[in-house]
C-alpha cells in the first residue's frame, strides 16, 4: 500500500506543476493584451470618476509599475490567499466571491446530472451488452444515438419551450423561486430541485447515450476474453460473471472518461445555463465576456483549469482502487 500512497503523491506533484504552469499562463496572457481593466472601468464611467481613481484601481488590480517579476510574485501570493482581484461588471465585488456563488450551482446542476447519466448509462451498457441482440439492445443504442445527434442547444430549447413555456410544468429560469429566501430549509431545497430538474434532464438525456455505448462496446469485447469463457467453465453464476468478471474490467476506460468529463463539466454546462438562465459558472463566463470583465474571466479560467486537474487526480485515485494493475 505504501507504493500506492507514493503514487498518489507523485501524481499530486505532477498536477501541482501543471497547475503552476496554468497559473503562470493566466498571469501572462492578460498582460499581453492592449489596455488594462482600470482604463476600461474609467472609460465606462465616462468622466464621472476623478483621474486619481484610475491609479487607485490599478493598485487594486495589482497593475503597478513594479518590475514584472515582483508583479508575478504578488500575483501568486494573492492567489494563495484566495484573492482573485475585483470584478469589473460587479464592481467592487471580489471575483472570488462571484465565482464561489456560481460554482455551487454548476456543481449542483452539472455534477449531479453527470453522475446520474454515468450511473444509468453504464448500467444500461452492462445490461444490453450482457443480453446482446436482445430487445433492449436493438432499440436503445440507435434511439439514444439519434437524440445524441441533435445539437444540444436545440434540444434544450425544445425542452424549455415544451415543458417550461407551453405546458408550464417547470420554471423557465433561475435556480430557485423568487419569493424564497436561500437557507437550510425545506421549501428552498424543494425549489432548487424543481428548478434544476429540466436543465438536468436535458444534460442527462444527451450524455446518457455516450456512456451507454462506450460501456456496451468495452463490455462486449471483455465478454469475448478468455477469463470470461474460463469463468463460465468454472460454473460461476451468471450474475457474478456479469458483474465481477466482465463489468469490473469493462468499466475502467469509462472511469477515465468520467474523470475527463467531470473537469469539463464546469465549463461545458455553459449552454445549459445560458438557455435556462441558470446562475452557474457558464452563465458567469458569458456575462464576463459580454462586459469585458477580464478579472472575472481570468478567475473562471483558473477555476476550470484547477477543477480539471483536481478531477483527474481524483480519478487517478479511483482507478488505483479499481484496477490493481496500476498498483505496483
Amino acid at each position: 500500500m505504501n507504493s500506492s500512497v507514493l503514487y498518489i503523491a507523485r501524481r499530486f506533484g505532477f498536477y501541482l506543476i501543471a497547475a503552476f504552469a496554468a497559473l503562470t499562463l493566466n498571469f501572462i496572457i492578460p498582460r499581453l493584451m492592449p489596455g488594462d481593466p482600470a482604463s476600461i472601468i474609467f472609460a465606462r464611467f465616462k468622466g464621472k470618476l476623478k483621474p486619481e481613481a484610475i491609479d487607485a484601481m490599478r493598485e487594486s488590480f495589482g497593475l503597478t509599475n513594479d518590475p514584472i517579476f515582483f508583479q508575478y510574485i504578488s500575483y501568486l501570493k494573492s492567489i494563495l490567499k484566495g484573492d482573485l482581484g475585483t470584478s469589473i461588471a460587479y464592481f467592487p465585488a471580489p471575483v472570488s466571491e462571484i465565482i464561489g456563488g456560481g460554482l455551487v450551482w454548476t456543481i449542483f446542476l452539472a455534477g449531479t446530472s453527470m453522475i446520474i447519466a454515468f450511473l444509468i448509462g453504464t448500467t444500461l451498457g452492462i445490461i444490453i451488452a450482457w443480453n446482446r441482440t436482445g430487445k433492449l439492445d436493438t432499440i436503445l443504442p440507435p434511439t439514444l444515438a439519434f437524440f445524441g445527434a441533435f445539437p444540444y442547444f436545440w434540444l434544450a430549447m425544445v425542452f424549455l419551450y415544451l415543458f417550461g413555456f407551453s405546458l408550464n410544468w417547470f420554471p423557465i429560469g433561475r435556480a430557485y423561486g423568487n419569493e424564497i429566501s436561500p437557507g437550510y430549509n425545506l421549501p428552498f431545497f424543494i425549489s432548487t430541485l424543481y428548478h434544476a430538474f429540466l436543465p438536468a434532464l436535458t444534460l442527462v438525456f444527451v450524455s446518457l447515450g455516450g456512456w451507454m455505448l462506450s460501456m456496451r462496446n468495452t463490455m462486449i469485447s471483455t465478454l469475448g476474453s478468455d477469463y470470461i469463457t474460463f469463468a463460465h467453465a468454472k460454473g460461476i453464476s451468471s450474475r457474478s460473471i456479469m458483474l465481477r468478471y466482465a463489468a469490473r474490467n469493462a468499466i475502467l476506460p469509462n472511469l477515465t472518461g468520467f474523470g475527463m468529463a467531470l473537469g469539463f463539466m464546469l465549463s461545458g454546462a455553459l449552454l445549459t445555463e445560458m438557455i435556462f438562465s441558470y446562475p452557474g459558472q457558464g452563465f458567469l463566463l458569458l456575462q464576463a465576456v459580454q462586459t469585458q470583465d477580464y478579472p472575472l474571466m481570468q478567475g473562471i479560467f483558473m477555476t476550470i483549469t484547477l477543477a480539471v486537474l483536481g478531477a483527474n487526480w481524483l480519478v487517478d485515485i479511483a482507478i488505483l482502487f479499481f484496477d490493481p494493475r496500476t498498483r505496483k
Binding site: 507523485r10 506533484g13 505532477f14 469475448g224 476474453s225 478468455d226 477469463y227 469463457t229 474460463f230 469463468a231 463460465h232 467453465a233 468454472k234 460454473g235 460461476i236 453464476s237 457474478s240 465481477r244 468478471y245 469490473r248 474490467n249 475502467l252 479499481f322 484496477d323 490493481p324 494493475r325 498498483r327
Partner: protein
C-alpha cells in the same frame, strides 16, 4: 483402464455463416478411459479446441453442435438442461484453457478467483476456503503469500500453475488441458508438465490433453488422436504413433520434429559440405548494449535488455541466436537492423561503422543491405494491399527495378520461395493466404533487395508444426544458391541446430555460450545450455519426474 469415462459419438459442430455452414468438427468419435492421458493433436484450424468447448458446452456463437453425443459418466451433456450443466462444470470436469495466461481475471486477486469456485460448488467460505486455497497453492508449489497477488504480478509459469490449482480446486475426476503451455518458455513448460504428471499419479486423474505439439505428447500420453480439418485421421497408442503411424499426415508430423540431442537425423535440412566463408566478417557487433528506460517523469527503473555482447557473422554463414523470452534476442535483431538505437557499442557492416544515429537517419544503403523477417506473418503484411504491392514497394523505393521489369522479377521471386504459380500469388491479398504462405511472402520481401544479410526473428514460431521445416528450408536453399547470410533468432534450440552453422546462446541479455551447432549440442559447457538441450530432447520427462 476399465470403462470409458468420456464417450464422444459422431460429434459434429458447424459454424453458421451467411452462406453454407462450415464444418469445424466432423463426425468425431473417441473414448477416454478412467485414469488415462488421452492426447488430441492438431494444427491450428483442425477443430481440436472446438471439440473441447463443445464438451463443456461453452461454445461461443455462431458455432452450433449439429449432431452427436458427449457422454460423460453415463450422462449426455448435450441434452442436459442449463442448470444441470452449471452443476456439472468443474464438479465432473474442469479445464485448463488455451492461452491460460489470459484465463485469470486481471482485477481479482488469486485468492478471490480460487474461492469463487469453492464458494460456488462447495459453499466453502471464510477460514475453510482460505485453508483449501493454501492447500491448492502448495499442490502446485506456489508460495502462500501469492494469494493476495493479482495476475499481472505473476510470471507466465506462475499463472499457469494457478490455473491448474483452480482446475484442481474441487478435485474433479477429469481435467481437460487445452494447449496449457503454449505461451511458456521450454524449461518452464517442461516443469509444469512434470508437475501435472506427478499430480495425476497422486490423484488418479483422467486427462484430456490438447496441443499442436505432437512431440510433447509423445513423452507422456497413453493414447493419441490426430485431427486434421475437423476429422480424426488416426487414433492409436503412443507407441504405434511414435513408430510412424499409418496415415501419411501422421508420418509428416513425426518427420517434422527436430531433436536437440543424439545424432543429426538425415533428410530434414541439407547443409553444404563445406562452407564458403569470407575471411573478414560481414557483420560485426562489438560491446553492444541496450538499456530501456521506463516511461514517466520520476521513474528511475531501467531495464538492461542487451548487455555488452560481441559477435561476428561471415558471408554465407547462418548464425542462430537462441534464447528464451526476456533474453534480449529480439532486441539484438532490432539493433542489428538499426530499428532501434544502441545505448553503447558498435555495429560494423562490411567493416564500416556507420555512425550510431536515430533510426530515421540510417542510410538507405544500410536498409537495403540488412533486411528483416518478422515473427508474425499476420501483422507484418498490410491487409489492404496485394502481394505484388508488398514486394514492389521496396524495389521502387530503392530504385532497383523499373515498371517493365517489376512483374517478372516478382514472379520469379515468389517461385523461389515456393509460391507457385507466381502470377497467381502476386495478385492475392494477405487474407487469401495461409500463415505459411504469408510468411513466404515476407521472406520474399526481405530477399527482394538482394540484401547482404537477413535477420529472421522467430520466423516459424507462429506457423503450424508441419510446415515449419519447409519454411526454414527456404533459408537453407537460398544460402546454397546465392551465398545468403542469415541471422536466425529463435527460442527453439532444436530448429537452430538444423538450420544454423553456429549457435549463440543468449540469457538475460548476455552471451552464455557460442559454438558450432553440432559441437554445442554434443558438448555443451554451460549449465543453462545443458538445461535447454535436455528440455528439447526426448526422454526429458522421466528425468524430471524421478
Amino acid at each position: 483402464m476399465n470403462k470409458p469415462v468420456i464417450k464422444i459419438e459422431n460429434l459434429t459442430v458447424d459454424y453458421i455463416t451467411e452462406e453454407n455452414p462450415i464444418k469445424a468438427v466432423h463426425d468425431v468419435t473417441f473414448e477416454i478411459f478412467s485414469g488415462e492421458i488421452f492426447g488430441l493433436v492438431g494444427e491450428s484450424g483442425s477443430g481440436k479446441s472446438t471439440v473441447v468447448q463443445a464438451m463443456m458446452r461453452i461454445l461461443p456463437p455462431p458455432a452450433l453442435i449439429s449432431n452427436g453425443k458427449v457422454i460423460i459418466n453415463d450422462k449426455d451433456i448435450l441434452t442436459s438442461s442449463d442448470s444441470d450443466i452449471v452443476g456439472f462444470r468443474w464438479k465432473q470436469i474442469s479445464i485448463v484453457m488455451q492461452s491460460a495466461l489470459n484465463a485469470l481475471n486481471p482485477v481479482l486477486s488469486v485468492r478471490e478467483q480460487i474461492q469463487d469456485v469453492l464458494k460456488t460448488h462447495k459453499n466453502l467460505i471464510g477460514i475453510d476456503a482460505d485453508k483449501r486455497a493454501k492447500e491448492l497453492l502448495s499442490l502446485v508449489e506456489i508460495d502462500h503469500d501469492r494469494l493476495d497477488s493479482f495476475p499481472h504480478q505473476l510470471s507466465g509459469g506462475m499463472k499457469q500453475r494457478i490455473v491448474i490449482a483452480i482446475a484442481l480446486a474441487i478435485m474433479p475426476p477429469i481435467i481437460i488441458m487445452d494447449e496449457p503451455t503454449t505461451a511458456l518458455d521450454v524449461i518452464v513448460e517442461r516443469e509444469i508438465i512434470a508437475k501435472v504428471i506427478d499430480l495425476r499419479k497422486k490423484l488418479g486423474l483422467t486427462i484430456l490433453f490438447i496441443t499442436h505439439d505432437l512431440n510433447l505428447l509423445l513423452e507422456f500420453a497413453d493414447r493419441l488422436a490426430i485431427m486434421k480439418n475437423g476429422k480424426i485421421v488416426e487414433l492409436d497408442t503412443v507407441e504405434n504413433i511414435y513408430a510412424g503411424g499409418k496415415h501419411h499426415y501422421t508420418k509428416k508430423l513425426i518427420g517434422s520434429i527436430p531433436s536437440a540431442s543424439g545424432k543429426r537425423q538425415k533428410g530434414l535440412l541439407s547443409k553444404p559440405n563445406s562452407l564458403n566463408l569470407s575471411k573478414s566478417p560481414i557483420l560485426e557487433v562489438r560491446n553492444l548494449k541496450k538499456v530501456f528506460q521506463s516511461p514517466g517523469f520520476f521513474n528511475k527503473n531501467k531495464l538492461v535488455a542487451v548487455n555488452d555482447i560481441s559477435f561476428k557473422v561471415h558471408k554465407g554463414e547462418i548464425v542462430g541466436i537462441v534464447g528464451e523470452s526476456g533474453s534480449g534476442k529480439s532486441t539484438v535483431a532490432k539493433l542489428v537492423t538499426r530499428l532501434i538505437r544502441p545505448s553503447e557499442g558498435f555495429i560494423y557492416l562490411n567493416g564500416e561503422n556507420k555512425k550510431v544515429a536515430e533510426s530515421r537517419d540510417v542510410p538507405l544503403q544500410y536498409r537495403k543491405d540488412v533486411q528483416m523477417v518478422f515473427q508474425d506473418p499476420f501483422g507484418s503484411l498490410n491487409s489492404i494491399h496485394t502481394v505484388y504491392h508488398h514486394l514492389s514497394r521496396p524495389l521502387f523505393r530503392h530504385r532497383l527495378k523499373n515498371k517493365e521489369e517489376m512483374l517478372s522479377y516478382i514472379i520469379d521471386l515468389l517461385e523461389k520461395v515456393g509460391l507457385t504459380p507466381g502470377e497467381k500469388f502476386a495478385e492475392k491479398f494477405p487474407h487469401e493466404m495461409s500463415g505459411g504462405e504469408r510468411q513466404r511472402v515476407a521472406i520474399a520481401r526481405a530477399l527482394s533487395l538482394e540484401p547482404k544479410i537477413v535477420v529472421a526473428d522467430e520466423p516459424t514460431s507462429m506457423l503450424d508444426v508441419s510446415i515449419r521445416m519447409e519454411v526454414l528450408e527456404i533459408f537453407a536453399k537460398m544460402r546454397i544458391k546465392s551465398n545468403l547470410t542469415v541471422l536466425f533468432i529463435t527460442h527453439d534450440l532444436a530448429s537452430a541446430r538444423y538450420l544454423a552453422d553456429r549457435i549463440i546462446v543468449l540469457k538475460d541479455g548476455s552471451i552464455i555460450e557460442e559454438n558450432d551447432s553440432e559441437k554445442l549440442i554434443q558438448n555443451p559447457k554451460e549449465n543453462y545450455t545443458k538445461q535447454l538441450i535436455r528440455a528439447a530432447s526426448p526422454g526429458w520427462l522421466s528425468e524430471l519426474t524421478n
